[in-house]
């Protein structure tokens, strides 16, 4: 392994480093994040979405936004599979526990 390789930024490979330096994916991720946020507002304010569907939609939208941030802005997309799993599992687990509780609350509210 050469000195140059050692001093490369810490990513899984030099090719991934180059990919991570591209600005376009970050701009696209930003546009999608804003769009998803607007959809969230629309779901809440429209009033026409059934309660249970709205709950599921909001949770799915939150998970999608969080995944975008982690994969693109936090560079997980460019890391090794093991590092992705090491991070994403514990990061998502608390949200899933909370999700189950909120779904339970929504079910109680609907019944």
């Amino acid at each position: 392994m050469s000195e140059k390789e050692i001093l490369q930024p810490a990513m899984s490979s030099a090719g991934h480093v180059t990919a991570a330096r591209q600005r376009a994916p970050y701009l696209v991720a930003f546009a999608v994040l804003i769009a998803l946020t607007l959809v969230e507002i629309g779901v809440v304010r429209s009033g026409g979405v059934p309660h249970r569907a709205a709950v599921v939609a909001l949770i799915a939208l939150a998970l999608a936004k969080a995944a975008l941030i982690a994969l693109f802005y936090m560079h997980l997309r460019y890391e090794t599979r093991i590092l992705k799993l090491t991070v994403l599992g514990p990061l998502v687990a608390p949200a899933v526990y909370a999700l189950l509780l909120m779904l339970d609350a929504a079910r109680r509210h609907a019944s």
Binding site: A10, S13, R23, P94
Partner: protein, 213 residues
């Protein structure tokens, strides 16, 4: 290969062999991820506590308590997401050697963080209009109020620390003491603050509002 290589500033840079599982991720990066995972548990615990309290306290919004300002918070969300973008573009600029642009983008990120904090202060206490506190959402008077202030306050503390972190890195970068690696670690922390806010926005603001809270 192992051992130390002198960096341009004379400090030894510890060489780290590529790992079969973690590639070229440095111990610093893995350490930051471990910290963020443990921090995520803190937020997760708070959100779970809110979920449990929400299930046991209906109606969630007590008489006399105000609704949360979702359009205003959506603007704060936009600000925070924008700072994640400026932060990562700042790292990309630093990695490409565009120092001036990198410094400008990091400065913008810090400014966005300050704007978020000002917005949160307005939401709580009021600056150009009444805050939630004056409108009747008082800490300790309901489960909704207590969880709201604890969760958004804990997140706000992270933003405040993040702004200080950015400024420290920015000053170090301008003095030539900070590398793109350290900016990337900063980016992990800062984007984590945005990551967590996604869930707070949904679980504290949006989901309860479906039930009129």
């Amino acid at each position: 290969m192992s051992g130390a290589i002198a960096s341009e500033h004379g400090h030894p840079t510890v060489a780290w062999p590529p790992d079969a599982q973690y590639g070229m991720a440095t111990p610093g990066k893995i350490g930051m991820w471990i910290f963020l995972i443990s921090d995520a548990f803190s937020f997760g615990g708070l959100l779970i506590a809110e979920g449990i309290l929400y299930a046991g306290h209906q109606p969630w919004r007590q008489p006399g308590e105000p609704r949360l300002g979702i359009p205003f918070t959506a603007v704060l969300t936009f600000v925070l997401v924008s700072t994640s973008l400026t932060n990562v573009l700042g790292w990309a600029a630093a990695a490409a050697g565009r120092r001036r642009q990198a410094a400008l983008l990091l400065g913008l990120t810090a400014l966005g963080g300050v704007a978020f904090l000002v917005g949160q202060y307005q939401e709580w206490f009021g600056i150009w209009g009444p805050g939630l506190l004056h409108e009747g959402l008082v800490f300790g008077q309901s489960a909704r109020a207590s969880t709201f202030y604890v969760i958004t306050g804990y997140h706000g503390l992270h933003v405040l620390i993040g702004v200080a972190y950015i400024l420290a890195i920015l000053i170090g970068y301008l003095r030539g003491r900070v590398t793109e690696r350290q900016i990337e670690l900063l980016g992990l922390y800062w984007c984590f603050v945005d990551f967590v806010w996604v869930f707070i926005f949904s679980f504290v603001y949006l989901l309860p509002s479906l039930s009129g809270a």
